[in-house]
């Protein structure tokens, strides 16, 4: 369970972030079309905060996580890391500053060198990126492996490790650098449910106290249990930000995502004007004046004081009281 203190100091600020990709057709000469993978995302992460980025495949969550780290260039908008503009830096300038901002990949086996042991992976990171002397790197690397329960596996090669152990080595490499920000792209993907919790416990429990973390996930119970805040994405936009310890998801799409058995499944058709979820939305018919068809909803505060902790982009949503139902039941799937 999440038990980390947050401060008000922002680590990441995204302002009006957009990313377009040109996608070709089936044949080389087929006309290309523009895909808005990220379409106007504003987001802030503060020190100590763990934020889940959730959404269906293709919603833009992985692109946002890559944009934050400078692995993609935005088409427009701004990325600020620790008060410094990040997207306008050259790649050489970013490389010199990248050390505190680390990435945990989805495919642990693909990220590991098949010829290196667990300890060698961590030592190499500490010497090449962290500038440690080899003796220091060995001591620090062993300390980190010990914290992650891998001390006895120090000499194991990736193929000799279980899926969970491989994930832990990728975590050890990143955490040994004492990062300021960790972006973890589905770090538990492909693991059995009972092993997922322990991998997240190792990641979030060993983050430096003031580090922020973005957890990209498909698993709503992970988002609920391990994150301060959940950011729900649809068609490249943020449609809801919610602290699941205090409230239930309110956007009709977010409700389906957190409890897919609650009603009919969306067919997945997205509208090109107005609210993209309109074709599948059960609430659109109740909104007066055809606003859902005409106007793209923007994120607006929801809750008793409009405190900003819960924001929803939906025309069917007005300011209202927080529900009294037990939020711990949310996203139990």
């Amino acid at each position: 369970m999440i038990n980390r203190a947050r401060t008000d100091t922002p680590v990441v600020s995204l302002r009006g972030l957009r990313k377009q990709f040109l996608v070709g057709g089936a044949l080389p000469w087929s006309p290309k079309r523009v895909v808005n993978a990220v379409d106007g995302v504003d987001l802030e992460l503060r020190e100590g905060e763990v934020v889940a980025l959730v959404g269906q495949s293709g919603s833009g969550k992985t692109t946002v996580s890559r944009l934050i780290l400078g692995l993609e260039r935005p088409s427009s908008g701004e990325i600020w890391l620790d008060g410094q503009r990040w997207d306008s830096l050259s790649e050489a300038e970013r490389r010199a500053r990248r050390l505190p901002y680390q990435y945990v990949p989805q495919d642990a086996m693909g990220a590991l060198d098949p010829q290196q042991t667990a300890l060698e992976h961590v030592m190499e990171t500490l010497t090449v990126l962290g500038g440690c002397a080899p003796a220091d790197a060995e001591a620090k690397g062993m300390a980190m492996l010990r914290r992650l329960g891998l001390a006895e596996r120090r000499d194991a090669l990736p193929r000799e490790m279980s899926g969970g152990e491989q994930r832990r080595v990728t975590l050890a490499r990143v955490l040994a650098l004492e990062p300021r920000l960790v972006v973890a792209d589905e770090p538990t993907s492909g693991l059995d449910p009972d092993r997922r919790g322990s991998v997240l416990e190792d990641l979030i429990g060993n983050l430096p106290p003031k580090a922020a973390c973005v957890l990209v996930t498909h698993d709503m119970s992970e988002a609920r249990d391990w994150c301060h805040r959940v950011v729900v994405m649809l068609a490249g936009r943020v449609i809801e930000e919610v602290d699941l310890h205090a409230a239930r998801p309110a956007h009709p799409y977010a409700r389906v995502l957190f409890d897919p058995w609650s009603g009919p499944l969306p067919r997945g058709e997205l509208a090109s004007t107005g609210c993209p979820f309109r074709p599948d939305c059960p609430d659109a018919a109740g909104v007066a004046g055809g606003r859902c068809a005409a106007e793209l909803p923007t994120l607006r505060p929801r809750g008793p004081e409009g405190s900003g902790a819960h924001r929803v982009a939906c025309h069917a949503e007005g300011p209202r009281q927080a529900p009294s139902a037990d939020p711990a039941q949310v996203g139990a799937s």
């Binding site: 269906q56 495949s57 969970g164 492909g190 059995d192 389906v256 995502l257 897919p260 058995w261 799937s333």
Partner: protein, 245 residues
């Protein structure tokens, strides 16, 4: 209605420990039977044993397996219990006639179920060829099976690499039901999917099995899926002593 599978007292051990012990269950025709249990409980091992695939040595030490809807008199584990790898290999060969006809298997990853060098239509034709009664018009039957899983007839001419992940998943499902099996064994079809797609895939699997009159053995980690869809649940106990993290 006779059961499709009657497993009694299944016991399998490796060289070091007992992997599953005293597992008994029936799988009924036209029903969804879920196979659940914690990691390492032996779900995949039990599912493979249900297909007469025993690939652990010394392996099977107890149990009987009958397919009453095929031939209630045959205990397929007869002569295999305690017989080690050689007896298990002989069983694998002897039971070949069942797999792909009486029962089919839908693996976790659609990509591993499809041959990348053959079109979906060619692969479906092979699967339909496993039926006892071949259809009068193969092309029409391929179109019909594709329609059952929500794919257009154009998918028949596509190689797996030309289809999206979701379409490949549907194609793999079409191949699993195309032989008109009595039982489909689906090994964690929800793995790696987002919640909406997870429900869509499992519902499609159940619907297609019901359209084809097949029973379904569904290995799942998701309690909500099991509660919503399963008619019967086989719960395997966790292995004592814990496992790796």
């Amino acid at each position: 209605m006779s059961a499709l599978v009657e497993m009694r007292g299944l016991g399998i051990r490796s060289a070091h420990r007992t992997l599953v012990e005293d597992i008994s269950f029936d799988i009924d025709a036209g029903k969804v039977t879920a196979l659940v249990g914690p990691s390492g409980a032996g779900k995949s091992l039990t599912a493979r044993a249900t297909m007469c695939v025993l690939d652990v040595a010394p392996g099977l030490f107890a149990g009987s397996l009958r397919y009453p809807a095929h031939d209630p008199a045959i205990d397929w584990f007869e002569g295999v219990r305690g017989g080690g790898a050689r007896a298990q290999a002989a069983l694998l060969e002897r039971s070949r006639v069942l797999r792909g006809a009486y029962l089919t298997y839908s693996p976790q990853a659609a990509s591993s179920a499809l041959n990348p060098g053959r079109t979906i239509g060619q692969q479906l034709a092979m699967a339909i060829g496993r039926r006892a009664q071949p259809p009068a018009d193969l092309g029409e039957e391929i179109r019909r099976v594709l329609a059952d899983v929500g794919l257009s007839p154009r998918a028949a001419a596509s190689l797996p690499g030309e289809l999206s992940g979701g379409m490949c998943q549907r194609a793999a499902l079409a191949i699993a039901v195309a032989p008109k099996p009595r039982l489909v064994i689906a090994d964690e079809p929800e793995t790696g999917l987002d919640p909406v797609l997870r429900r869509a895939v499992v519902e499609l699997l159940v619907e297609v099995c019901q359209v084809h009159g097949a029973g379904l053995l569904l290995i799942s980690h998701h309690e909500d899926t099991v509660q919503r869809l399963a008619h019967a649940v086989i719960r395997l106990p966790g292995r004592s002593g814990g496992g790796e993290r």
